[in-house]
Every structure is written in C-alpha cells, then in structure tokens.
C-alpha cells in the first residue's frame, strides 16, 4: 500500500476527465431536439437552465474573492500546525499497519468492523492532512506500508505519542484470535490516547489552531478518538474473561 502525496490528485484527474466528458455530451444535446430534452426532464432534471441566481459576471467576481481568501489562509501558516499535521500523518499510518493485520490474525467480526473503520477513517485523514500541507506549500510526508514496516519519506517513522515500539508491534503480529483482539485493543487505546495528547499539546501552544481547518481537523481527531477509546475499553472488558469464542462468519466484510 502506497499513499503517495499525489495519489488523490491522480484519482481526481480521472473524475475530472469524466465530468468534462459529461459536459461535452450536454453541450451536444442542447442544440439537439426538443424530444430529447423532454425525456431527460421526465426522470430528473440535470445540469441546465433551472437554477435562478445572479449573473455570471458577479459570480466570477465572488469566485475570484473566494480563491484569494483561500490563498491568504494558506499563506498564513502556524509552524505548530505544520508540525502537528506532519506528526499526525506518521501516527495515523501506524494505525493502518496495526489494523491491517485483522483479517489474517483471526480477529472477531466486531474487531473486523472496528479495524475496517479505522483503516477507512485514517486513510482519508492522512490524505486530508497531506492536502492541507500541499496547499500550504509545505513538505508532504510520503507514507509507505509494507507488511509490518512503516516508512515515512523512505526512513523509519518518527515515534509520536502513544505509537507502538518495535517490540509491541512484534507482540501484536505474533498474537492470534481473541489474544490478538486483546493485544490490539490494549495498544490501540494507548495509540489513540497519544493522539488525544498531541491535540491537547497543540491547543496549549501559542498561535496554534487559529486556522479553521486545522482546528476542525484536530478537534475531530480528538473527539473521534476519545469516543473510540471508550468503545475499545468496553470491548476489552467484554473479552477480558472470555476464552476463544465462536467465530461467526464475517457479516461486514471490510470495504
């Protein structure tokens, strides 16, 4: 799995091409016939002629203002925010390595839901933080995951708060079944608590998180991970006294 900084852009380019193609089709249909247009309307209206609003010139002016303000936000950057985003990318990436073990390590269905969602959520957040850095013309860490090995920009990942040591990661990789669930929950709680600490440290820094997007990102990470910590503590309690239990078939395959 390679999360190169420019991957979202490539993906987006494909989407862009498709929508341009659609636009071309629309243009071609427009001068066509009344009958075609009526058919289109009968199912749902699409794209043209029905949305009232100000004229194009006024909207172009507002769009230019929108762009200028976006540029002004991205040129006014707090170093604490940059450090936070950069560090959190590594932090999140380790969660991907940990969660990626679930399907091959006998995780319970409930754990498969949890780990699938962690992978989905944190992959998106990594892309979001990479885009945040890219927009501000800062270095964008390149994340590479190969089995248990996590590399950031071709070197070892920096150890942020709560991240697992090599020994802890080996312990997780060696566990199976309910034991894997237990070790995973124990270490992911530690890992998440580290993220909560990183956010608290950010908010305690002068000048930090004044950028609305950075504030929202950091707050969302804190609140999501606090919620998930509670959920994991409950799951840990539930399996604490249970021997190797039945393994119902996976009802929620990972996306």
């Amino acid at each position: 799995m390679l999360l190169a900084p420019d991957e979202p852009r490539q993906q987006a380019n494909r989407i862009e091409k498709r929508s341009r193609m659609k636009k071309r089709q629309t243009r071609w249909i427009l001068p066509c016939t009344f009958a075609l247009a009526l058919t289109a309307c009968a199912s749902a209206q699409r794209s043209t002629g029905t949305s009232p609003g100000p004229e194009g010139r006024e909207l172009e002016r507002l769009e230019a203002l929108f762009q200028a303000r976006a540029d002004s936000v991205t040129s006014n950057v707090s170093e604490a925010d940059v450090e936070f985003m950069t560090g959190m990318i590594s932090h999140h990436a380790q969660a991907l390595v940990m969660s990626g073990l679930a399907p091959t390590h006998g995780a319970s269905p409930q754990m498969r839901i949890l780990t699938s969602r962690i992978i989905n959520a944190q992959t998106d957040e990594i892309a979001f933080m990479q885009a945040w850095l890219r927009d501000r013309q800062r270095h964008v860490p390149e994340v590479e995951v190969d089995g248990l090995t996590l590399t950031i920009d071709g070197g070892p990942a920096p150890r942020m708060h709560g991240m697992l040591s090599d020994a802890q990661m080996q312990e997780l990789a060696a566990a199976r079944g309910v034991e894997w669930d237990r070790v995973f929950l124990t270490y992911m709680i530690q890992h998440h608590e580290g993220a909560v600490t990183m956010v608290s440290d950010l908010f305690a820094t002068d000048g930090a998180a004044n950028d609305d997007i950075a504030f929202k990102m950091a707050s969302d990470i804190q609140v999501d991970q606090r919620t998930e910590i509670r959920r994991m503590k409950r799951m840990l309690e539930e399996i604490a006294g249970r021997p190797e239990g039945p393994s119902p078939q996976d009802r929620h395959p990972s996306p």
Partner: protein, 654 residues
Amino acid sequence: MSDRSLSPTMLKLIRRLGPLALAAGVLVVSACSSSSGSFGAPPSPDPRIGLGAGLFDAEEAIWNLAWVSQSPPPESFVGSTNSDLAFLGDYAIQGNYNGVMFWDISDPARPTIAVEFVCPASQSDVSVYGNLLFVSGEGTSGRLDCGSEGVAEAVSHDRLRGIRIFDITDVQNPEYIANVQTCRGSHTHTVLKHPSDDDNVYIYVSGSSSVRPAEELEGCIAAGDDPSSALFRIEVIRVPLDSPEDAAIVSSPRIFQGLVEPESHGQAPGDIRMVEEARARGDFVSGVGEEARVMSRRFTQPQLLRIMRERGGTGSPTAADSAQLHEELPTLVEQLRGTPDDDVDPDAPRPGPTQCHDITVFPEIGLAAGACGGYGLLLDIRDPENPVRIDAVADANFSYWHSATFNNDGSKVLFTDEWGGGGGPKCRIDDPREWGADAIFTIENSSMVFHEYYKLSAPQTSVENCVAHNGSLIPIPGRDIMIQGWYQGGISLFDWTDPKNPHEIAFHDRGPVNAETQRPGGSWSVYWYNGVIVNSEISRGLDIFELTPSAHMSQNEIDAAKSVHLDYLNAQGQPLFVWPSSFALAGAYVDQLERSGALSENRIAMVRGALDDADGGSRSGLNDLASEVARWAGSSNDSAKVRMLADAVRDLAG
C-alpha cells in the same frame, strides 16, 4: 422566462454556443417547467453520478424539487464556512465561521441580505427566541470583542468559547449583550422553551473540543478522573427573559453516568435475512432472535470431525453428525463464552462518554434525544435544569452519534452518524451503507428499538465530503417525511413512515466544488420553514427549493404542509406540527389512502366528489360524510388513517 432563471452554467454555454443554444435552451427550460407530472420510479441511471465540478457553476441534478432561488454569500462571508440556520418571522439566520447573516426571505424567490454581522467564531451555531439570538463559539480564535485577528496566546482573557447573546429587537442593529463562557466552548447548542415556563429559556450546551486551562476560565478541569472534570457532562444555561444579560450556567448534568450498554442494538433487516438464509441452507446458527449468529466453518468443522470420531467414524461427517452438532450447539456456545471475568467490577463507576454532539429537544412531549459520542440517549426534560437519561443505545456501525430528529407524534427517533466529522468523503461506492448513515428507532415503553439504516444512495466522488448531517421534518400530515443535508452529497428527501423501509422521494445535488482536490462545500443543514426548503450551503450560500407533486407526494399533501405556520424555528428545538382545518388536509389523507389502497376506488371517488362539492359550496353534508367515513375504518387495513380523514372532514364541517 427572465435572465434570472438561467444558471451560470447555462449562461456560459450560451456565451460559447451563441443564439442556436439559446433557442434550444429555452426549449429545454420550458419543457422541464411544464412537465410536472408524476414520475414514480427513481431516475435511472442516477443523474447525481458524474456531475461536473465548480464553485458557482457546478453541474446539478434535481428530482421532485424545484428551485426557488440560489444566493451566493455576501462579500464578508465568501470563502468562510456557512453553518447552521435558524428562522424568525421573515428571516433566515445563517451562521458562518466569520459571523452571522440575516436573509430576508419574505419573497423566497429574491432573498436579500438584511444584516451582515462579522463576529468570527466556529461553528456559529445559531438559535433564536423572542428578541434574542444565541450563537455558539468553540474555536480557539473567537474573540470577546468580535475582532477578526484571532487569539495568538494559548491562555487569553480575550477568548470567547461558549454562547454569545444578542438582542435583535432592532434586527438591523444586533446588540451584543452577554456571553456565557464554558470550559469546552459550544460546538452546538439547543434552546429549550419549557411549555409552562414563560420567564426563562434554557440552553443545553454541547462542547466537543479540548477543555480550556483553568488559568483562562476558572474551574475548568481537564483530568477525567477528577470528580469536578469538565468532561462527562453537558452545561445548562438559564436565560431570564426579562434580564437576558444575567444568563448563567445553572447545572452541569452528568447524564452519561453509569452507561453500560454494549455496542449493539437489534439486528438490521439485512442481518436477519442473512441468518434466515443460513438456516434455510442448513448452516449452523447459534442463538435465537436478536442473538442469532451464523457460525463459522472454522468453529463447526472441527466439532463435526470430533462427533464423527466419537462414534468411531472416518472420512466425511454425515447428516447424522450434523444433526448431533445442531443439538449440541447451545451447550458448546455456552461453554465457549465462559463466565464474566471476576476482575471487572460491574459496580465500578462508569463516567460514560465525554460529551454530546447535539441534543434535540421536543418540549411538547417532554423528551430529548441526545447524540452523544458513542451513544444515542433518550432524555426526560420535564425538569429543564435536570435532564434525566431514560434509555441509551449504541451501535458497532455508528462511529459518532451526531444529531437526532423525532417524528411528529414522538413515536420514532432518527439519529445520524457523522462518521469522520464531516470532512471525509464517506459516500463513495465502497463505503458501507451502514456507516455514516441514519439509524431509525421506534420508542416503545421508553425504550428505543432499532429498525433500519438510511444512507444517501447516490455514490459520491472522493473529493466530496459526504456523511449524514442536519435536517428536519416536513409537515406532511400522516407521514414521516424528512429533508436532510449530506454535505457535498447534496440534499435528500426521504419517507421513514415505515421504519423498516426508509426510501428517497426527492433530491438535489451539485458536482464537487473542485474536481481535483476536496474543498469545503455542501449542505450543512437543510430545513423546512413555512412552505419552503432552505439549505445552508457551506461555500455556495443560501438555496431555497420547493416541493413539486409526484407519485410520492400529492399537491394536497404539499398544500397541507404549507398550511402549517411557525413564528420561528430552531430545528433542534423541535416544534409540534398542528394542521389547521383545510380541504388540502382532508385531500392529503384521501390521496394517501388511495396510494396505499386502504380504501376502495369507489369510496375514494365518493369522498373526493363530496369534498369537491363542499369546497366553495355548502358544507352541510360534511358531518354525514365524516360519520360515513368513520364507519369504514373497521374494514380498512389502515383504520387509523381512515379515522384521521373522518376527523379532518368533521373539522371542515365546522
């Protein structure tokens, strides 16, 4: 057709293609506007897929709704996030991370800006009551003096995190009269007007961000194990209406204390189907009802081999061995589960989640629904200062309980899951439909019973943030209809009258703000207010739509919805809809009974004829008609609706 009804996209096309396109364009528009018949099936292929990007000129798809107007943000708010909406009289009040704006929507086709009030704070969640406006501040850059320079210091007495209170007696000149500072700021808030207390309103504050240092606000304690911690609670502010400047926190209820519910609720219909199919195949299923689980081969195969060996057999297990395993299964599962761990003290204090994201109060029924981190709560709010938890649900598919909406008779509640916090693209084709969705519950003897999920069906791109967000009921009598915002997934109108079969009946969607990278945008919240649907678009401004008749909704139903008038609306302070007597109301019930087939064609025709005769003519026969209709109730498969029709007809008789 005036120029105003041409979209920017259209204008660009006209400029490029010249008069030929203009002629064709006129035909397209007139064709669409005249073809307002009923089209039952959802459009296929879904026109929301592949819409072209743009800030103000994105491609759009619309079904069973009509545009009334779209208004870009005023200059002070361009490029800053539009957030939630409140309504007062002719005004739609739109929060923005840069302040608050008042739109005069007395002519919804031409909204005008009445007030642009710059006073930065995220998220600027807004509510109104009487002559008061309340605004939430959570972000660390909000200032007491409404300045735009932010707050550089981590500890500062210039910072506002909490509730700002404005006197808007003179709407043109809002007067900033008070603040109530809170430890975690106010992400959202809810105004509670108790039906029997006309002297005060209450504000439930939900703060989800970091606790402020005690040096900044006295008494704020972040440590979770401190009994005075600012976590694990909500704040209740009392606002005396004759002296709102004296508003203050009166209680900090710990409504989460002792929450022990596991991460589950009843199974979804899909899960139940899967178990039934497994049983039909002869697969091994443990447990019954809600507890039923399909057993994995990893478990059953070794057990079958053991049973075979115990009878001295070799090779493959036989049908008799399977029968034996079916018999032993309950005992085996019991053994495997074991007994609970003695180390876990079941009586140990459990502080529960640290916060709510949002609370919806429904004062007329004395209940509130709290969307609180990992839980959905049902609260008794008859004593506004001391809300009491009466039920809680959790769900392994729900990441983050975000907001709630009751149906009008309080027999159902719908919760949303804002998976990923609203910044993530959670409606891609491979994102599970149970994640980032709505969950529908019935309320039975004060307990919430799960039925089904509802999620926007149209897959969105990876550059469109999309997840369940804010919406409101539409007062269609006799049905539970809701309009909801899904960020860049657009808005979706759906029917959840049958809690097991929520389905979409109208939508609007734009393409992404930017085709290459995710930019903020989409519907923050969309609410019905006095006949129109008002959408707060994060980057594009204020959209207003109206319902159009279709196979899913008749003109009578729309007219009956429009007959409900509100003086103000805070969507999280849910009003009880009461329909005035009207021919549209009776007609709406007739249309529904015809649609469901609960009355025969003859009876439908008879009622319609009688109502038509009475509308504008003599109403003398309506009492007899009402009695006749009431007699049909017993033989109809929807007797409740037939009685509602009888009552509506009797009310018309006067």
